[in-house]
């Protein structure tokens, strides 16, 4: 792969894009499932050995954190996510407390995947994963895009990528 001539005329400048709003519901449901499973575990432990070890404290902590996660964290995490396909690179921002801004040059993308789990599929969503030869940025995931949009994004990034496959 020597050179990649510019594949298309430069696209009009894009706005930073956000995730699909329905990802909020998806994250809430998966959060709810996790909270329920862990709380159930604590309940079982409480019924079995509750006399000796105060497992109800763990249960209460799990439920409290679960409510906080569903009510406060998920919408913030959604608002914190944005990405932008620019002329030469992809730029991503995410993170509520631990914030991260990443720049992934198109030339450095080795391949692009779409990923859909069972719950994600039920919501008609998918993730796009960018793979580079790097270490910290070896796999960068953009979660919660509408399935069709994710496919289109994969095609587009795949076409833009791989101008330079030398490590």
């Amino acid at each position: 792969m020597e050179t990649a001539p510019p594949t298309a005329p430069p696209a009009p400048p894009e706005r930073p894009r956000t995730l699909d709003p329905s990802v909020v519901r998806l994250w809430r449901i998966s959060g709810l499932i996790w909270t329920a499973v862990l709380a159930l575990g604590a309940l079982v432990l409480h019924l079995a050995w509750g006399d000796e070890v105060p497992f109800w404290i763990a249960g209460a902590a799990i439920v409290t954190y679960g409510v906080f996660y569903l009510a406060a964290w998920v919408p913030r995490a959604y608002r914190a996510w944005e990405f932008e396909i620019r002329e030469t690179d992809v730029r991503l921002r995410h993170g509520v407390l631990w914030q991260r801004t990443s720049v992934v040059p198109h030339a450095r993308i080795q391949h692009v995947d779409t990923r859909h789990g069972p719950l994600t599929r039920a919501f008609g969503l998918a993730s796009v994963v960018l793979y580079t030869a790097g270490h910290t940025g070896a796999a960068i995931e953009i979660p919660g895009l509408p399935a069709a949009e994710a496919e289109a994004l994969r095609e587009r990034l795949g076409a833009l990528s791989g101008a330079d496959d030398a490590v």
Binding site: E2, T3, T88, D89, G95, L97, W98, Q99, R100, T101, S102, V103, V104, P105, A107, R108, T132, A133, G134, H135, T136, G137, I140, A163, D164, A166, V167
Partner: protein, 514 residues
């Protein structure tokens, strides 16, 4: 490709379809299996003295050994390798036949290894790594006749580079013997061992001690109860003294082990540049010869440890693209174990010709950085002190270390620095061990700015420069958030320009070849 440089030894003939390994492979792989099983066998033997359980362990080990040895024999008889045109091909397997084709242009590192026994019997192991190699090399030809391993290495080196650059630079890379960049004498290596990493020193002492305890055929149990009894008779001060003395002895042992290990392990360390490759040779008992292609070098790390800084000594490591195996080896084996600090800039220049390290002025990180570090260390100390105080009120004495935390925080701040020098990003950090990273712009993969809640309180952020090498990535901690954003933008732009330059250069070379 002229017919003259085709080494006949490595060409497949249609009759045999590739070459076999050396028959001594059988011996070495059997010994390797035996050695892997010795430790469990010893444990088994010890417990066998006790009863049936030990005997059972021995039987199980025996049962496990037979198929391993059978597999090793089958591996030898079915293994064939060949260099065909632009590929290294090998296949093996009885039931599940495996064939692997490695394009030579993908080869990263080539290494010839010889253990003492292999040197005495005139054989060697050839290891080939590609960027995708995980914990194992992509191909390990173990063992070959020494001359054959060398011939194969030269063929791989000569053919590895892409066709277009080969015709321009000539074909005999790896064959001529240039003046070495570095050659280390035993006294220099002894100094390297003596000043090796402090933590490593202590670890070496402990490992050395454990090794001794394991190796000595002493019935330790017979002595241990006595020691215990003796301990209980001693006062607290006596015990502390004894433990301190023991630590000193262990550290001295570790120190000696470190010195001897360095002299033996890196004996006759020679580093040379041939064409586009760096050649490294070393070892007294186990001899290693490795070739690293220069254009695969992702970054250079200059390390100046606490013990070495006053002596004006440093070590230099290169990071190449590769899997975790390289990462571990990079940690364990310095590229240049030791050099005078003033020679480092020259060495770096030999690897990155357009870069002058001593001309670089590093900018400091944000002055609020030490305050954040101090808060962090002081809080850690407070938590430790609180925890200890629950057990014993004297635990609060830990708080006496708080002023020291400020010193460390200031120290760390002064260590940190960065520069966007000519075509290279330079980052520096460390407390005990001062580490300077040098990353060529065109090797930058992705860039990240991260900010923890504690950093944002002070308006600070970190910049991570990601390259294709494994292990810790160059990170600049605690610049102002605004500076981090600017740095991200500037580095992304520089990396883009550098990649374009590399592509253009490659294109023009390809055109010249046509």
């Amino acid at each position: 490709m002229t017919p003259s440089d085709e080494a006949p030894a490595t060409e497949p003939s249609p009759a045999t379809q590739g070459r076999r390994l050396h028959p001594l492979t059988l011996l070495f792989s059997t010994v390797a299996i035996a050695r892997r099983l010795i430790l469990p066998a010893v444990f088994g033997g010890i417990s066998a003295a006790g009863g049936d359980a030990g005997r059972a362990v021995l039987v199980i080990l025996g049962v496990l050994t037979v198929p391993s040895i059978a597999l090793a024999i089958a591996h030898y008889f079915t293994f064939r390798y060949a260099v065909t045109g632009e590929e290294l091909v090998y296949r093996s397997g009885v039931l599940r036949r495996k064939q692997r084709v490695i394009p030579l242009s993908r080869v990263q590192n080539i290494e010839v290894r010889q253990s003492l026994a292999q040197r005495l019997t005139g054989v060697a192991e050839l290891r080939v790594e590609t960027a995708g190699s995980g914990s194992e090399p992509e191909a390990a030809l173990s063992v070959l006749r020494r001359a054959e391993a060398d011939a194969l290495r030269h063929v791989l080196l000569a053919r590895r580079r892409p066709v277009e650059s080969r015709t321009v630079d000539g074909e005999d890379t790896g064959l001529s013997e240039p003046a070495p960049l570095v050659h280390l004498t035993p006294p220099e290596l002894a100094v390297a061992g003596a000043t090796a990493n402090e933590a490593g020193l202590i670890a070496a002492a402990l490992v050395g001690a454990l090794q001794f305890a394991d190796d000595l055929p002493l019935p330790l149990e017979r002595y241990l109860p006595d020691v215990e009894a003796w301990f209980t008779q001693q006062s607290l001060a006596g015990t502390v003294l004894l433990v301190a003395a023991l630590m000193v002895v262990l550290i001295v042992i570790g120190w000696v082990v470190s010195i001897v290990g360095s002299v033996v392990g890196y004996y006759d360390f020679t580093l040379a540049r041939t064409g586009d490759d760096i050649q490294k040779r070393y070892g007294l008992l186990n001899r290693r010869e490795a070739s690293v292609p220069l254009r695969r070098v992702q970054s250079i790390r200059v390390e100046e440890s606490l013990l070495r800084r006053p002596l004006d000594l440093a070590s230099l490591k290169i990071e190449t693209a590769g899997g975790p195996a390289q990462q571990q080896r990079g940690g364990a084996e310095a590229f240049v174990p030791i050099a005078q600090a003033r020679r480092i800039a020259g060495l770096v220049q030999a690897l990155f010709p357009s870069f002058a390290l001593d001309a670089v002025e590093l900018a400091p990180v944000h002055p609020r950085s030490p305050r954040r570090a101090f808060t962090r260390y002081a809080l850690t100390l407070a938590i430790v002190a609180g925890g200890l105080a629950l057990l014993d009120r004297r635990g609060l004495l830990v708080l006496a270390l708080v002023p020291f935390a400020w010193v460390v925080a200031r120290w760390q701040y002064r260590m940190r620095g960065y520069a966007l020098a000519d075509g290279h990003v330079v980052l520096r950090s460390g407390v005990l061990n001062r580490v300077t990273w040098i990353v060529p712009d065109e090797k930058i993969q992705t860039l990240h700015v991260t900010a923890t809640p504690f950093q944002r309180r002070h308006g600070l952020a970190s910049v991570v420069v990601d390259t294709a090498s494994g292990g810790a990535q160059p990170t600049l901690v605690d610049v102002s958030a605004a500076d981090a954003a600017t740095l991200l933008e500037r580095m992304a732009e520089r990396a883009r320009a550098a990649r374009a330059r590399v592509r253009a250069a490659r294109r023009s070379v390809a055109q010249a070849a046509v």
